[in-house]
């Protein structure tokens, strides 16, 4: 066995180009995850029992079914019910919706750390619930949940590789294609792994910096 760095060097541009899509899926997925997660979290702790139950079922289902299966269902279901999304958009949506279940729980945990007195103070001032959430609770929950949210983003970078199964040309898929041409799976997949690792390293470092910034204030 000769480990050929030439193969890696030769194909690196393609892999890096594909990594852009990996990043897009995970970052866009994270945005959807946070946006949806806020609402699911709000429903999860709302006063209306049916909302709470609906949120609990959502969380339980999306956390209980393998993401790969969710992706497949999404891909076969959407056309079936007459929705025609580009593959990339469908993948991002699926990843985001799944992740939202986790984000909702992260935010719920963070909200519990906010003293109830703050809510009471806002109530005493006659602040509307929407305003309370937008200005007081959500910003603090995001800050408190920051470490877990960064973790979640790292997770999304990793699970974005599943999108290769439904034919999206992100990093894993492109690595597969290159392997098909070069018959050099070891080199190509190790190179892909290194790129994933570097992306996650950068994210976790950025997360640490952000955390320190937030703490100082």
């Amino acid at each position: 066995m000769d480990f050929s760095f030439k193969v890696i060097l030769h194909n690196l541009p393609f892999l890096l180009a594909a990594a852009k899509w990996t990043l897009l899926i995970s970052v866009a997925g994270m945005a959807i995850s946070i946006f949806l997660g806020i609402f699911i979290c709000a429903a999860r702790i709302s006063r209306a029992a049916w909302l709470r139950r609906a949120a609990a079922v959502y969380i339980s289902f999306f956390r209980g079914v393998p993401l790969l299966v969710q992706l497949l269902v999404f891909f076969y279901m959407l056309p079936h019910v007459g929705i025609d999304l580009p593959a990339m958009a469908a993948a991002i949506l699926a990843v985001g919706m799944c992740s939202a279940a986790y984000t909702a729980e992260i935010l719920r945990g963070a909200l519990q750390a906010i003293p109830a007195g703050q809510t009471e103070a806002a109530d005493a001032l006659g602040m509307s619930p929407v305003w309370l959430w937008r200005r007081i609770l959500v910003p603090q929950a995001l800050r408190l949940g920051m470490p877990s949210l960064v973790n979640e983003l790292i997770l999304l970078v990793k699970v974005s590789s599943l999108a290769s199964v439904v034919g999206i040309g992100e990093l894993t898929r492109v690595a597969q294609n290159i392997t098909g041409q070069t018959y050099r799976p070891l080199e190509v997949y190790i190179a892909a792994a290194a790129i994933y690792f570097l992306i996650n390293l950068v994210i976790s470092q950025l997360g640490r910096v952000a955390e320190r910034r937030l703490q100082l204030n």
Binding site: M1, S60, F61, R63, G64, V65, P66, L67, L68, V69, Q70, L72, V73, Y76, M77, H80, I154, V157, K158, V159, S160, S161, L162, S164, V165, T172, A175, Q176, T179, P185, L186, Y189, I190, A192, A193, Y196, F197, N200, L201
Partner: protein, 221 residues
């Protein structure tokens, strides 16, 4: 919905379910054993070994499972490691799970106050006895929840094994869907199956946790 399909493909699906369970259970047990070994090595060895272990943990946790699986299954033969899909699936599970398990064990070790261990050293207990009699029983209580949690996460990752043609539940379902040109129903039913599996194991996990923490609750009563 064509339930007749499920009748025809029932045996294949059941076999697939068996393979899923096999990979999951074998992978979890192997991962726990390897993870425990890593955590112990980390605790009782010199700095260079620790760096190596830390690097291993970070590398595995920083890369997707699917890529690890590909390296093992497709790359393995190039270094003389020819594995069947199921073997590759289980082995990759062991490797993938071990750093997460080792971190759980490490945090468990860390949760026992140093003073208790010093007290044990003072009466002459050896390291092995301290681990077995003082550290493990107490940390078991703390780590059951994260342990079952991660085992449940692993149960879902089994679906990824279908990508390297491990004949597990998702793979068999995909085969059925492709042969019969029905897609929506099989995957919906499949989702339900996984969901039930996860709900069931979470419930079981809670039972186990309840049992394990029994003596603690009695002690605090």
């Amino acid at each position: 919905m064509e339930f007749e399909l499920f009748h025809r493909y029932g045996p294949a699906l059941l076999r697939g379910f068996g393979v899923t369970i096999l990979c999951w259970v074998a992978g979890s047990i192997g991962g726990i054993v390897l993870g425990f070994a890593i955590a112990c090595l980390y605790r009782w060895s010199w700095r260079p070994v620790r760096w190596l272990l830390q690097a291993y943990v970070e590398l595995i946790r920083g890369t997707p499972f699917m890529i690890q699986l590909f390296i093992l299954y497709y790359g393995g033969p190039y270094v003389g490691l020819v594995l069947s899909p199921v073997q590759a699936g289980i082995l990759s599970f062991v490797i993938y799970g071990s750093p997460y398990f080792s971190e759980i064990f490490r945090s468990g070790f860390g949760s026992i106050p140093e003073g208790q261990i010093e007290a044990a050293r003072c009466v002459g207990l050896g390291e092995a006895a301290i681990l077995r009699r003082i550290v493990l029983p107490q940390m078991l209580v703390l780590i059951t929840a994260p342990l079952t949690n991660f085992i449940i996460i692993l149960s879902k990752e089994t679906a990824i094994l279908s990508v390297v043609t491990v004949p597990e539940l998702l793979y068999e379902t995909q085969t059925m869907a492709a042969e019969t040109f029905t897609y929506v129903e099989p995957f919906l039913v499949l989702s339900l199956c996984y969901w039930l599996l996860v709900v069931l194991t979470s419930w079981l996990g809670q039972k186990v946790e309840h049992r394990v923490t029994r003596h603690l609750r009695r002690a605090n009563a």
